[in-house]
């Protein structure tokens, strides 16, 4: 009877199918970073300096 008791125990060790490897690769959404831009600022600055250079050129004439 001890052999019959051992059999299912052995079975559960040899067949650890219920102790499965579960792949828990949780897929997160991307982070959101705050952005600053030189382009935007520069376009304003550039406009200013263009106007400035135009007026100085006129003045020098």
């Amino acid at each position: 009877s001890s052999a019959s008791q051992q059999a299912p125990e052995l079975q559960s060790k040899v067949v650890p199918s219920k102790q499965i490897l579960h792949s828990d690769s949780m897929e997160m959404e991307p982070e959101t970073m705050e952005t600053k831009s030189v382009t935007e600022y520069f376009s304003k600055l550039h406009m200013g300096s263009a106007i400035y250079s135009c007026t100085t050129k006129r003045r020098s004439k």
Partner: protein
């Protein structure tokens, strides 16, 4: 004149850096931004924008120490010139960087500062973004403790649950605002991370609801990467709901998209998930089929950890089918790989499997063949093993967990 030339040169370099980063070449962009900093400028607003973009570029390049440095410079500068919006943005970026570095308490302070300033300025967009970032910090904080242990989702200690509940609250607050603003892309992100938070809290039905919303929005945008993420997360949730057939369907959709997107690592991951799901469904032929596919890609990517896991899974499935010779082959391979990568738990498990198989096959074995007694085996759960060698990026996040027979019975 020299001053003017310098300013122009700094701006030109920064503009080129900006253009390169926008085009996706952060590495080249960084060089131009660094050069711009070298030339220098008296315009502090320009300098702040350069620091900020350098910080973001380094963040995307996963060089977080550098990212931290530049976002910190940006924060100091924004405060010096009294630029409130600039300070809010720098705080948010610093918070995100600190989160990745695992400094959650400081990250919370920075993200809270981003939130407070945005509210003071009546900046709803900024407020929503700060709430999303705060949710992310609390999620990471909870997960970092949770993953160090050996718990299943929903079975974490109280401090982990507290952090995860806070994350869920912040995502929910974010959702209210971005829904008002009609920002669908932001809703998609919030639903995805909210779903994952519910999953960790063990609220699998709520996780499914959130991921279904994420899926809907991903389809609206034709965003196939987000669609694939949603399928994979839905599969994971259905596993814990005990609905293995549904999980298998979602994992198959993940696999299909991974193949379309030509992402081999993700394809391997999907095969592995399918192998495990079919094992739970006790369809061992299909399980073997998927585990073999996983093994092939793991070999191709030279992912030894992945190969080891594939061998273990294959050994188990072969044993279940009574194919002990094949099981023996995989158990031996599992042992070799576990030794190679220094996975002690894997090594013990493989030895146990081998000795059991030898008994089944009626082979004699000597005592120096490392016959393990039962109390020497710590656990089949390999959650605690921290193996890095040869592990590919997709496998980095791979957790092993034990589904006890009682649990499987509960589900059915």
């Amino acid at each position: 004149h020299v001053r003017y030339r310098m300013e122009a040169s700094c701006l030109e370099l920064a503009l080129e850096g900006e253009r390169l980063c926008k085009a996706g070449d952060c590495r080249a962009g960084v060089s131009f931004f660094e050069a711009a900093v070298q030339v220098g400028t008296e315009d502090l607003k320009t300098l702040s924008a350069i620091y900020s973009q350098l910080g973001n570029a380094y963040f995307y390049l996963h060089e977080y120490a550098k990212a931290l440095e530049y976002h910190h410079h940006d924060l100091t500068l924004a405060r010096t010139i009294g630029d409130q919006l600039g300070e809010a943005k720098a705080s948010g970026n610093l918070g995100n960087t600190l989160k990745v570095l695992g400094n959650f308490e400081e990250a919370i302070v920075c993200c809270q500062r981003h939130l407070d300033i945005s509210r003071d300025l009546g900046d709803k967009v900024g407020e929503a973004r700060a709430l999303y970032n705060l949710g992310n910090v609390y999620h990471s904080k909870g997960k970092s403790v949770a993953c160090a242990g050996t718990h299943d989702p929903g079975e974490f200690p109280d401090d982990v649950k507290t952090a995860l509940r806070k994350a869920a609250d912040y995502y929910q607050e974010n959702l209210t605002i971005v829904t008002e603003l009609g920002d669908r892309a932001a809703q998609g992100r919030a639903y995805g991370n909210l779903g994952n938070t519910h999953y960790l809290l063990g609220n699998f039905r709520s996780a499914v609801t959130a991921h279904e919303q994420r899926l809907l929005i991903a389809k609206e945008f034709g965003d196939r990467a987000a669609e694939r993420r949603a399928y994979s997360n839905l599969g994971n949730a259905y596993i814990f709901l005990g609905e293995f057939e549904t999980a298998a369907e979602y994992y198959k959709k993940t696999l299909q998209l991974a193949r379309q997107l030509k992402d081999r690592a993700v394809e391997a991951q999907a095969c592995y998930s399918l192998g495990n799901t079919y094992t739970l469904l006790q369809d061992y032929e299909k399980a073997i089929d998927y585990h073999l596919k996983h093994l092939a890609i793991a070999e191709e990517l030279n992912d030894r950890i992945g190969e080891g896991r594939a061998c273990w899974s294959l050994g188990n499935a072969c044993t279940a089918l009574g194919n002990h010779d094949q099981a023996m082959h995989y158990a031996e391979k599992h042992l070799d790989i576990s030794r190679e990568v220094g996975d002690k738990t894997g090594e013990l498990t493989a030895k146990l499997n081998l000795s059991d198989l030898q008994m089944v096959l009626g082979l004699s074995f000597s005592t120096n063949n490392s016959m393990m007694t039962e109390n020497q085996i710590p656990d089949y759960n390999l959650n605690g093993t921290k193996q890095r060698l040869g592990r590919r990026h997709s496998m980095e996040k791979l957790e092993l967990m034990k589904l006890t027979p009682e649990k499987v019975q509960d589900w059915n």
